[in-house]
Subunit: 190 residues, 2 copies
């Protein structure tokens, strides 16, 4: 006999409904038209349910991004076996996104939410360490490139590369091809 639905189970269902409603509304109407009221109506929850978990619309969007509900898969680092090629591909994808109005708004709202909310900030950094992340890809590349050995501080390398991306996104500077090469030189060595 199935157990009766408990509080935490209902909460997780509501959380998922809120994130899905946010992702759907963003795709349909864009960032500026997105409101907590609109999300609540679409997810069929009260506004207070949203505010219980997130302080702002930016924080909900940040969680969608970190859970892959928005831009699913587009921020993963590919793995072709060639680390320099894969990071180059990842940087190209990220900066192509930053070149789109919607992508720029989303990624900057993630940074703003992380600045305002400690939990979002921690999750942003955690998202850099798993598989499919920059650190995960660097880890799997140990031994395949001259500068990547078991002694290489891969988490800090990933932090440096991702941090450079954040800083450049904040400056609204595009990453041109020579910049990309120099950034990879700086992080992976020449």
């Amino acid at each position: 006999m199935p157990l009766p639905r408990s509080g935490p189970v209902r909460s997780e269902a509501a959380r998922q409904a809120i994130l899905q409603a946010t992702a759907d509304l963003l795709a349909e109407r864009g960032y500026d038209a997105l409101t907590i009221e609109g999300i609540a109506a679409r997810a069929q929850v009260g506004k207070q349910t949203i505010y219980r978990w997130w302080p702002s619309k930016g924080a909900v969007i940040a969680e969608c991004l970190l859970e892959g509900k928005i831009l699913p898969g587009r921020l993963l680092v590919p793995d072709t076996g060639d680390i320099r090629h894969d990071l180059s591909q990842w940087l190209t994808t990220v900066f192509a996104l930053l070149g789109e109005d919607q992508g720029e708004t989303l990624l900057r709202s993630l940074v703003a939410a992380a600045a305002e909310n400690a939990d979002t900030g921690r999750r942003l950094r955690d998202s850099l360490t798993g598989s499919g992340s920059v650190a995960g890809r660097l880890r799997s590349a140990i031994g395949t490139a001259p500068n990547l050995t078991t002694d290489t501080p891969v988490d800090e390398l990933a932090e440096a590369l991702s941090g450079a991306v954040i800083l450049r996104a904040l400056s609204r500077e595009p990453l041109r091809e020579p910049d990309l090469v120099r950034l990879l030189d700086a992080v992976l060595g020449r």
Copy 2:
């Protein structure tokens, strides 16, 4: 005969008065008590004068930080001739600041303001390239360390190191001594 005071001259005086009032009020009352109304009253300008140049209190604080009106000199990279020692000292200072309530709030409000305001974002990145900055110090160290040659992409190295600091500040993680060593290993090589 002195020229009559022109518009731009009066504007610069007002701008300086606003930045000084912001720095003074922050020191006296702290971040939470700081309001645009309070800044306007102290600087003897109208609120609209402030909003003409800055969209939010965070943006005014960001400009104070970038002009050295807040924490003057504390964010400069020292120059003792030993680049690794100097960057280690700088990182220690920055993370000591992030360990203080006020410092953490200030530096995170700078990142939030940069996320929200393109001009602040550009100035944040520009602040990393001058003398006394990470890039400036790396540039003056070319030839003094095995991994710093005229071919080294110093601007990108500075971007990576500063970006790592921003990312770690967003995650509210302290930088312990072993992390600091690994981060410098990642950026300067071992």
